[in-house]
Amino acid sequence: MKKEKLYLYLRVTIGWLLSLIILIPFSIILLNTLKTSQEAAKFDLVLPSIFHWGNYVTVFNESHLGRAFFNSIILSTFPTILSIMFTASAAFVISRNRSKFGVFLHRYFFVGLMAPLNIVPIILILKYLNLTNTFVGTVLVTAALGIPFAFFLFYGFFGTISREIDEAAIIDGCGGYRLFYSIIFPLLKPVTVTGALLNFLGAWNDFKIPLYILNSSKKMGMIINMYSYFGQKQSDWNLVCTVIILTLLPVVALYLVAQKQIVSGMTSGAVKG
């Protein structure tokens, strides 16, 4: 018994020592936000000689962080709503369809989980639709990219909802659309929350799509905004670290609030489906 206890303490100690690999870089970035440029360039775990809270003000004003935040909200919320709403209904009809047609569509959406997007031709498609460098274009591309994963989540969940619900509703005189929107969709709440959170996070963290298709600085979200600010201030590590922390803040806040759903959603692939 005593030996087991000792093992446990050993494990806990090793666990915390290893966590330093994650924690130390963060701590240094955090400390750097309060230092001068010269102090920050040393990257040490020492408290700043004077706390320069002004760095936060400087970065907030210089990098248009407020505007970038609201742009990010637009560029993450709308794709999430679109892909979740569209995919939930599609996955419902496809999962109830056992014919060859249903199997084909299932595979068609599923391939998107593995296949990478070929982004260059999108430029041409958006040009044809007159949507280059617009919020609408970026929102639609991001939404399309979120569909395969949402499909995977919803499709798996429909197996747990009995068909008898559908039949009972129809016998009571409910139409096909009402069946889905007022009876089935409310039942999907747990998956909808998970799927929405993950699509939102994915859109928020995405760098590649806006890099390729959104050039106007007025429309930049937080990530690409940080990229352009980094380009200007590369040598001022105090300011760079401040913009890193401020850009991280919304995501970390979301993680703290909804950790359970995020982790379970990201690991849902572990359950064979």
Binding site: I22, D44, F86, I94, M114, L117, P121, G176, N205
Partner: protein
């Protein structure tokens, strides 16, 4: 038919159209454009030039395109293996009852929810000549090892790979923890009655039982690894020379210089490699899974 009345096909349409037009169509168009000289000068016009783009890519003395293919494969292979190995180790370490275990899990998982670009910048600071890594090495008296990691010909690629591993271990860890918790406790009890050592328990119980988690992790890691972009773009942008150049940074470079046809061709190569490897791995690894677990 009764069926069509309950399950409206029109409910499929919005998702089908959006996905087809902005995901599938670009991939198909990419294949067509890879055989053309489509470029910035003439957006709406492309001439068929056969295999010329692929000739440029594969038959090239300077190896500007071939070496990124190998770098991508090495990157994906090495990071996947390391992420699985460290992921299992961490999961086994933290799959115990103690008070701080959920806090520790949250800490290790945190990088998985962060934008890769941010992680790239954090590690740009870590790998600076005056950065944390060198400070740490100096502290240990290993001054000789410290260097400017990101512009070092030998160490730039390992440094970039280490960053990707750092980012993704937590993700592997939680999937393995989920897998470990599905193993019936009775297996270990009977093994310890039979006097099996810890190592034997791991080899003959734990490992076979978590093969499904290994499969999913390995496949996800490889897909991520083959499509790496943000991390390399922010850390080294392909340098020094083209030591850390991967396929997706090549796509962006060709795209920026207006050679859309060539960029599409490289995009097609990423597409084909990813699908081929992911499918083969899935099939090969699923064969080893134990039935009924």
């Amino acid at each position: 038919m009764y069926y069509n009345k309950i399950y409206k096909k029109s409910l499929i349409m919005p998702a089908f159209l959006l996905y087809s037009i902005l995901f599938v169509l670009p991939c198909v168009m990419g294949i067509w454009f890879s055989f053309t000289n489509w470029n910035m000068m003439n957006m709406f016009h492309a001439d068929f030039i056969g295999l010329a783009n692929f000739k440029t890519i594969f038959i090239d003395e300077k190896q500007t395109y071939i070496s990124p293919i190998f770098t991508t494969l090495i990157f994906a292979g090495v990071t996947s293996i390391l992420e699985v190995v460290f992921g299992i180790s961490l999961a086994m370490l933290l799959n115990n009852e103690f008070r701080s275990k959920s806090l520790l899990r949250s800490i290790f998982f945190l990088p998985s929810i962060m934008a890769p670009l941010i992680i790239g910048y954090i590690f740009t600071s870590v790998y600076q000549p005056s950065g944390v890594l060198n400070n740490f090495l100096n502290l240990l008296g290993l001054d000789a090892l410290s260097r400017a990691w990101l512009i070092d010909n030998t160490f730039a690629l390992p440094a970039v790979m280490a960053t990707e591993v750092w980012r993704y271990i937590g993700m592997n860890m939680v999937i393995f923890i989920a897998g470990l918790q599905m193993i019936p406790k009775a297996y270990y009890e009977s093994a310890s009655i039979d006097g099996a050592s810890k190592w034997k328990e791991f080899l003959h119980i734990t490992l076979p039982c978590i093969i499904p988690s290994i499969t999913i992790n390995a496949v996800l890691n490889v897909i991520h690894g083959l499509n790496v972009f943000d991390i390399i773009f922010s850390l080294t942008n392909g340098g020094p020379g083209n030591k850390t150049e991967v396929l997706n940074t090549v796509v962006y470079r060709e795209f920026s210089s207006g050679r859309y046809g060539l960029a599409s061709a490289v995009g097609v190569i990423v597409f084909v490699i990813t699908l081929l490897i992911a499918f083969t791995m899935q099939v090969q690894l699923s064969k080893r899974e134990i039935e009924g677990l």
